[in-house]
Amino acid sequence: MGERNIGRLGVVRLVLRSFYLQAAWNYEGLQALGFAYVMFPVARKLAHGRTVAAEFAARHLNLFNTNPVLASYVIGATAKLEEEYEEGRGGAADIVTLKNSLSVPLAAIGDRFFWANLRPLSGLLGVLVAGGAGALGAIVLLIVYDVFHIYYRVKGVFSGYALGAGIVGEIAKLRLMKLSETVGWLGAAMLGILLVVRAYAWKGEWRGEALLLFPLVAVASGLLPEFFQKRITEIAIAVSVAGLLLTAAGVFG
């Protein structure tokens, strides 16, 4: 009988594979196929024999969906539970239950922090810097986002693997909800700064039309109902074409 744990290198492999969790995202299993892929080295190490391996694959091809960054906690904890199952502690149902019970709260916390707050903030900071320092803006965007992104990817897998089912308590201690709130406040203040800086940068001096138009259009379009917000690409095309035609006609600009 071989060694019944995946070892430190195995955990590092889980971290690297977690970057491909959404590789085969589909409407039926959502992230299930990606999750099975991430867990495959664990199966190779632990699930000996054809039937055991098939059971392992079936267990991880169940519907699964959560925030891709915080999914790392589920990945680490599931690997630990798989080890315990192979050692005869715990059951297969416990593994599935843990996956399902963690995915919803992690999606709520992670989506709010990473998608709804950190990503827009890193974009905003990137734009602010890009306005003055060009290509450096893209680097700022990457650094601001990825410091948190990569930290939680790595920490999640290692903590999950160390704690197993005990990861539930660790997740309860995550301060990301509070941090989301802070990022939101920071974003509001930075947006105010951006509006003035971009209005000034338009012609390199205070111009009445920019000073009035820029904040007014921003606030007005920011207060549009959600339906319009979802159609921002179509709205932007309409605004661009209208602006193009009006300028060409000499009415605008």
């Binding site: 196929l33 892929y37 091809l61 890009a130 990457l142 105010g192 003035v196 205070w206």
Partner: protein, 233 residues
């Protein structure tokens, strides 16, 4: 020229991969993919200008749920190519017109890209069903081969869409390179309004109807106005 286009399509494919299929380190954000495209074309400023406007417009596009988002990375890369090509070929056209047309091109390509993302998801669904079928019929089944295949599909989608977009936009370049008086007008106000619409997206994300955050927002405006005014004097 061909080498440039090939490099751009490779960049488009890699950035499209980053959007969902792999890494998600934000190479797919318009400011990043636009800047990369600009650097590859030897015109970083054009990449930054296009990327900046698109970044603001799509900053509220949150990849939650099944609804596919506009293909921002491929849109940005092809929009930058269009802008740079217009700047190079149309001697008398104002840069602001080239930028505006680049943004419009990027937005249209991104919308087209959304359709192809749905197709990519259908292919992933087919791969998933095939694997589940194999596992349920007692075979081990191997996500080890399936997922790299899905990654290749995702890259190929971005690459080919970029190539297609550049091909179509190349036809448009030849139509737009006349020396009419319309092309020398200043279109920068429209670009400013587009930026403002994008800033509106951020307003709904960060400020919304929260009174406290309205104060933070107003404070940001007032403070910056004072500082810039002092420097201006």
């Amino acid at each position: 020229m061909l080498r440039e286009i090939l490099l751009l399509c490779l960049a488009g494919g890699v950035c499209a991969l980053d959007a969902t299929a792999a890494w998600q380190i934000m190479l797919s954000q318009p400011l990043v993919s636009g800047t990369i495209a600009g650097l590859l074309l030897g015109a970083p400023q054009a990449g930054v200008v296009i990327g900046l406007v698109l970044q603001l417009l799509w900053s509220g596009a949150i990849p939650v749920g099944a609804r596919p988002l506009p293909d921002a990375p491929v849109g940005s890369v092809s929009g930058v190519w269009f802008t740079v090509t217009l700047l190079r070929t149309s001697g008398s056209a104002s840069p602001s017109l080239c930028y505006l047309l680049g943004v419009i091109a990027a937005l249209c390509v991104a919308l087209l890209g959304r359709r192809t993302i749905m197709l990519e998801r259908e292919i992933s669904g087919w791969l998933f069903r095939r694997l589940v079928h194999r596992v349920s019929s007692g075979q081990v089944g191997c996500p080890e081969r399936t997922v790299p295949l899905a990654v290749i599909f995702a890259f190929a989608r971005g690459f080919l869409l970029c190539l297609l977009a550049i091909g179509v936009l190349a036809l448009a370049v030849s139509l737009l390179t006349d020396d009419s008086t319309l092309s020398i007008r200043d279109y920068s106000l429209t670009l400013l309004i587009l930026e403002a619409v994008g800033a509106g997206v951020l307003f709904s994300v960060f400020v919304g109807k929260s009174r406290g955050r309205v104060l933070a927002f107003a404070g940001g405006i007032a403070g910056t106005f004072l500082v810039v005014s002092l420097f201006h004097q």
